[in-house]
Structures are given as structure tokens and as C-alpha cells.
């Protein structure tokens, strides 16, 4: 009989205590796994979606709203801005590139974004099927949007007004699908891209139901929702946002600043969850300690008998440590599985809302710490019982009879 097999048998000889300890350890580890998975994925997602975007310019309002609506596409934009103002920005000497975005319509919950081919180039998007749009009312679908909507090149669909389901249908202005993008793991997966002119066309074709500002006859009067700006030089970050905010009717939002704020806000939530996980782990450590300490007291005679049969003190204490190790290994497996399961559940809910991409089927390097934390917790809890087992006095036991 091997040490680990014997430890396992001793462990399951006390099923109630073992299950309780497993549950506590598992919940603590699952909380930590979940936090690591979600924050890691959100962080990656933010970094990926923000790559190369130095500034987002839009209507005055909340800068955070501007970033959430314009980069991550999880909020409504604060309003529209004049195309002429955006074109003026593009001519500014500190600006290398301006990519206009026009929002307002959606299909099946997926946003239709009017933009230029520069947007495709910015995210280095590859077409899996078909081709990019070349004229108004042609669209290219993100991978997730195409799969969910069941659309392929050659199909057509009718967009609805508004960014959520249930908006007024633009029945007489159908979009044609010309291409489907390969999955990029970024926000574009859940977008429907078309030319800026398409958005203008759809809204100008429906003056009866549209807002007054939707009707425009000339470029000077036309509007877009926002623009993504890339600086010519990093030095522009020092003064260009202030220039936009003070010298133009638009508002500038720096993604780096807003995302830091956002992560700080999310961080409070994740810290609370991590704190709960830590408390659960501490509780589990105490519970494991009490269980193993009781086991040593109850099994003092068994342990002494082991010594009598020739086991060294180290072997007897290793038996106690092995019981702790078993708990750690089992709880690690269960905790990781539960953490990934929770992440998958949250991911499914977020996907149904076309919100942030979170998956349970990814592995974060930081998760490697989960088994280490489990072994440390169970090991620390088993240490004093193991020392007590090491010191079992066999001779004294004989004298007690």
C-alpha cells in the first residue's frame, strides 16, 4: 500500500469532514479562478480593442460613454458630430489618421457600424468569405455576427433603427452581405461593418420617421457619431485632447485614461470577489486544520501502531501531509473546473447581450497559481497536525495499554 493510497483511504473514512473541507477549498479556489479568468480576458480584450487608438472624438457628454460606445460597442453614443468637424481634425498636423464611425442601426442585436476601409486595416482584419464593401449598402459581417445571424455573402437583410432589438425597420433599404470576416477575438467579431455612406443613405431615405438631423443634403451638414484618432507623434497626447475640448464643439476621450478608470471600477468588484475567495480559503484552511488535528487525536493509537510496525516518524507525519495534499489536488481540479464553468456561464450571458467577450474555454497563465495556493493552504493547515503525528509517543501509548 502506497502512502498516497493510504492517505486517501484515511481521508474518505471521514466523508463528512472531507466533503466540507473540499467544498470550502473548492469555493475559494473557484472564486480566485473566476476573477483571474474574467479580469484577464477583459484586460486582453481592452488591450486588443484599444490597440493603436490614441483618442476617441465624439459629441460632448461622458468621456467613458464615448469609449464604451465607440471602441467596445457596449454603450449608446452621447450624440452625433459634424462630418466637417471630423474632416478638420484629420487635417490637423498632429493627427496621422481619423476613422469615422456612424452608429444608430442594428440587426439581430448586432450593431451596424458605418466606417471606412481604414477600420478594417486598423484591426488587421482578414476576410474569411467574400470581399469588402465597395459601394453603399454592402456589408461585411464579423464572425460572431455572421454565425448568429446565419448570413453569408449574397444574402441580404434589413436593419432596424436603434442599437437594441425592436427598433423601427428600414424596410426599403436592405443591406447586401459581401463578406464575412475571420474571427479576430476583438470587438469586430460582433459588428456589422458597412460604409459611412450606407448609414447616411438609410436615414436619408426615411425622412418620415427619422430625426431632423438625419436629413442632410451636403457633406457640410452630414454627421457621423464619432471618430477614432491616431496621433502622428506621442507628444500630441499632451495638448491635442485639450485642443479638441476647448476649440471644437466636440469632446475628446483618451482611451488609456478612461480604461484605467474603468478597470479601477471593475477592480473594486474583482477585489471584493478575491477577498471573498481569500476568506473562503482561510476558512477552509482552519477547517482542514481542525479536521486533521482531530484526526491525529482520534488516530493517535493508529499512528502509534504504525510506528510500532516500523514506520519512521517522518513517514507518519508524511501521511498527514498527504491527506492535506489530496484535499489540495482534488480542490484544485474542482475549483478550476467550477471557476471555468462560472466564466462560461457569465460569458454566455454576456454573449446573449452582445457584450464583452468572456469565455470559460481559455487558460490564463495566472491560473497556474491556483494549485500552488491550494497546496500552500492545505499544507499550512496540515503542518501542525503533521508535527503532532511526528511526535506520537509510542512507548507512552504502550503504557496507557
Amino acid at each position: 500500500m502506497k502512502l498516497l493510497a493510504l492517505a486517501f483511504r484515511y481521508l474518505w473514512a471521514r466523508p463528512l469532514a472531507t466533503v466540507l473541507n473540499l467544498v470550502l477549498l473548492t469555493l475559494g479556489l473557484a472564486s480566485i479562478t473566476f476573477v483571474v479568468l474574467v479580469t484577464g480576458q477583459l484586460d486582453r480584450s481592452f488591450q486588443r480593442d484599444l490597440a493603436g487608438i490614441d483618442l476617441v472624438v465624439g459629441a460632448k457628454g461622458s468621456p467613458m460613454q464615448l469609449i464604451l460606445a465607440g471602441v467596445f460597442h457596449i454603450d449608446v453614443p452621447p450624440g452625433n458630430i459634424k462630418l466637417a468637424d471630423v474632416q478638420a481634425l484629420a487635417r490637423h498636423p498632429q493627427v496621422a489618421q481619423v476613422i469615422p464611425l456612424s452608429l444608430g442601426d442594428s440587426f439581430g442585436g448586432f450593431r451596424i457600424v458605418g466606417t471606412t476601409p481604414a477600420y478594417l486595416a486598423h484591426y488587421q482584419l482578414q476576410l474569411r468569405q467574400g470581399r469588402a464593401w465597395s459601394r453603399p449598402m454592402e456589408t461585411v459581417l464579423g464572425a460572431q455576427a455572421a454565425q448568429a445571424a446565419g448570413l453569408k455573402p449574397g444574402d441580404s437583410f434589413i436593419g432596424g433603427h436603434g442599437l437594441g432589438a425592436g427598433g423601427r425597420s428600414h424596410g426599403d433599404a436592405p443591406y447586401q452581405v459581401t463578406g464575412v470576416l475571420a474571427p479576430c477575438g476583438c470587438v469586430v467579431d460582433r459588428l456589422i461593418l458597412t460604409s459611412t455612406e450606407s448609414v447616411w443613405h438609410v436615414h436619408e431615405a426615411h425622412p418620415a420617421g427619422g430625426k431632423e438631423e438625419d436629413h442632410a443634403d451636403t457633406d457640410a451638414d452630414r454627421e457621423v457619431t464619432m471618430a477614432l484618432v491616431r496621433y502622428r507623434t506621442p507628444l500630441a497626447a499632451a495638448g491635442f485632447p485639450r485642443y479638441v475640448n476647448s476649440q471644437t464643439p466636440m469632446q475628446a476621450a483618451a482611451p488609456a485614461i478612461e480604461v484605467t478608470r474603468l478597470l479601477r471600477m471593475l477592480g473594486v468588484g474583482s477585489e471584493v470577489l478575491q477577498g471573498v475567495g481569500a476568506v473562503l480559503l482561510l476558512t477552509a484552511a482552519l477547517s482542514v486544520f481542525i479536521a486533521l488535528w482531530s484526526a491525529v487525536r482520534e488516530r493517535r493509537a493508529d499512528l502509534a501502531m504504525l510506528r510500532m510496525l516500523g514506520a519512521s516518524p517522518a513517514k507518519v507525519s508524511a501521511l498527514l501531509l498527504a491527506e492535506g495534499l489530496w484535499l489540495a489536488v482534488l480542490a484544485s481540479v474542482l475549483g478550476l473546473a467550477l471557476g471555468h464553468g462560472l466564466a462560461a456561464l457569465v460569458g454566455a450571458i454576456l454573449q446573449a447581450q452582445q457584450s464583452l467577450p468572456v469565455s470559460g474555454a481559455v487558460w490564463m497563465p495566472a491560473e497556474a497559481w491556483v494549485p500552488a495556493v491550494a497546496v500552500l493552504t492545505a499544507g499550512a493547515a496540515a503542518l501542525i497536525p503533521a508535527i503532532s503525528a511526528y511526535r506520537v509517543d509510542v512507548a507512552q501509548l504502550l503504557q496507557r495499554g
Binding site: 500500500m1 502506497k2 493509537a301 502509534a304 501502531m305 510500532m308 514506520a311 512507548a395 495499554g401
Partner: protein, 217 residues
């Protein structure tokens, strides 16, 4: 064989127990008799290498026990000494068969299932191999504990009060079994007891009478 000369053991509290010299040949029997506190358990612990003599010589199965240290002494004990405690100390977490397997585990030897089955069979408890000790009768449990004690064919078999709380018939049966088991593996049998019935049952055994000793002032 067991041979002692001027054997004494000092406890950390200061008390010293001294023991008469004894020579027991291999395969012989020794009866340790004395009341509680006379030092029977201490003598057993010395022979098993669980305590180190403070003075004197102790040779067990040809080995000067005091010369052994740490792990070597543990291994020696596991392979040389069989022990039947008064409280049988069978683990309730393990089946009868697994309780016997503990002897292999503790002694650091590869498990031999055939040997376990043979010993259980020899003691008439092979049918209980998968039962938990908590579901055994007193007699069955004692046979299982004895099977564990002789499993590794020890050179010395120590029994601590094997007839305590047994009626006359059960005590006679237990002692006969013990004697038979020791003879089966050629072990020197040492029985520590304050039960007068044991002397009658183990006729021919050497007797080492132990008396309570005064602790030094």
C-alpha cells in the same frame, strides 16, 4: 533470542527502572509478570527499540538495539518485532486485509497479497478480509491483530496483556493461538501480563517477575 545485562531505563522525569538479566533462546517463551507500574510496558518498549536503555546491554535477535539509530531502528523493528497490543489498534478506516497491508507499508516492504491471505487463512479469518474491524467480534479482532503481528514472520513476538477482559475459555483459546502463531514463525514469544492464568497456560516459559520500583528522591 533476547539477552539483557544490567538493563535500566531512565525517564525524562528522573525515575529509573532497572530490570533483572534474562536470556531467552530463539523460539523460547518469556512471561513478564508484575502489577501495573512494575515496568512491563517499559521493558517491551526497550525490546522493541522504542526506548533506548540508559545503561546495560540489550541484544534482540542478535542485534544490539542501542546501536541502531533513527530510521534503521524503525526498519529493524518493523522486520524483527511482531506486536499484539492490549487494545488491538486495528484501524477502523481500513478493511481487515488493508490493516494487514499496513505492516508492509510501515516496514517499507512491497505488499504481498498472497502472504496476507495465507496468514488470515492460517488464523481462520480469511473470510473476514474485506470486513471493517468495527464489525468484528472481540475474538475475531484479536485473531486479525495477531495475523498482523506475525505477517512479516518476526523473530520476536510481543504480546501486551493478551488476556485482559477475557473469560477463562477465551483466554485459554487466545493464549493457545498466540503460542501456535509464535511457533509457526519460530519467534521468541514474550507475554507481559498481570494475569495469573497466563502462567498456567504457558507452561515451560521463563518468568521474569517485575516489581514496582521506588523513584529516586
Amino acid at each position: 533470542m533476547i539477552q539483557t545485562r544490567g538493563l535500566a531505563c531512565r525517564y525524562p522525569q528522573g525515575a529509573t527502572l532497572s530490570f533483572p538479566d534474562v536470556d531467552v533462546p530463539q523460539g523460547g517463551m518469556l512471561l513478564l509478570q508484575g502489577r501495573s507500574g512494575a515496568g512491563k510496558s517499559t521493558w517491551l518498549a526497550l525490546v522493541a527499540g522504542l526506548l533506548t536503555p540508559s545503561s546495560g546491554q540489550l541484544r534482540v535477535a542478535g542485534q544490539d538495539v542501542a546501536q541502531l539509530r533513527g530510521g534503521a531502528r524503525d526498519r529493524w523493528r518493523g522486520r524483527t518485532i511482531g506486536f499484539l497490543p492490549q487494545q488491538l489498534h486495528l484501524s477502523d478506516a481500513l478493511s481487515v486485509e488493508r490493516n494487514l497491508a499496513l505492516a508492509f507499508f510501515a516496514a517499507g516492504l512491497a505488499e504481498d497479497p498472497a502472504r496476507i491471505r495465507a496468514v488470515l487463512d492460517a488464523l481462520g479469518v480469511a473470510g473476514l478480509a474485506h470486513r471493517l474491524p468495527g464489525r468484528l467480534s472481540g475474538g475475531q479482532a484479536q485473531r486479525v491483530a495477531l495475523a498482523r503481528a506475525i505477517l512479516l514472520q518476526p523473530r520476536v513476538l510481543l504480546a501486551d496483556e493478551p488476556t485482559a477482559s477475557l473469560d477463562d475459555e477465551a483466554a485459554a483459546a487466545a493464549l493457545a493461538l498466540l503460542r501456535e502463531a509464535a511457533a509457526r514463525c519460530g519467534a521468541t514469544l514474550v507475554v507481559a501480563t498481570h494475569d495469573a492464568r497466563v502462567r498456567d497456560a504457558l507452561r515451560g516459559a521463563q518468568v521474569l517477575p517485575l516489581a514496582p520500583q521506588e523513584a529516586p528522591a
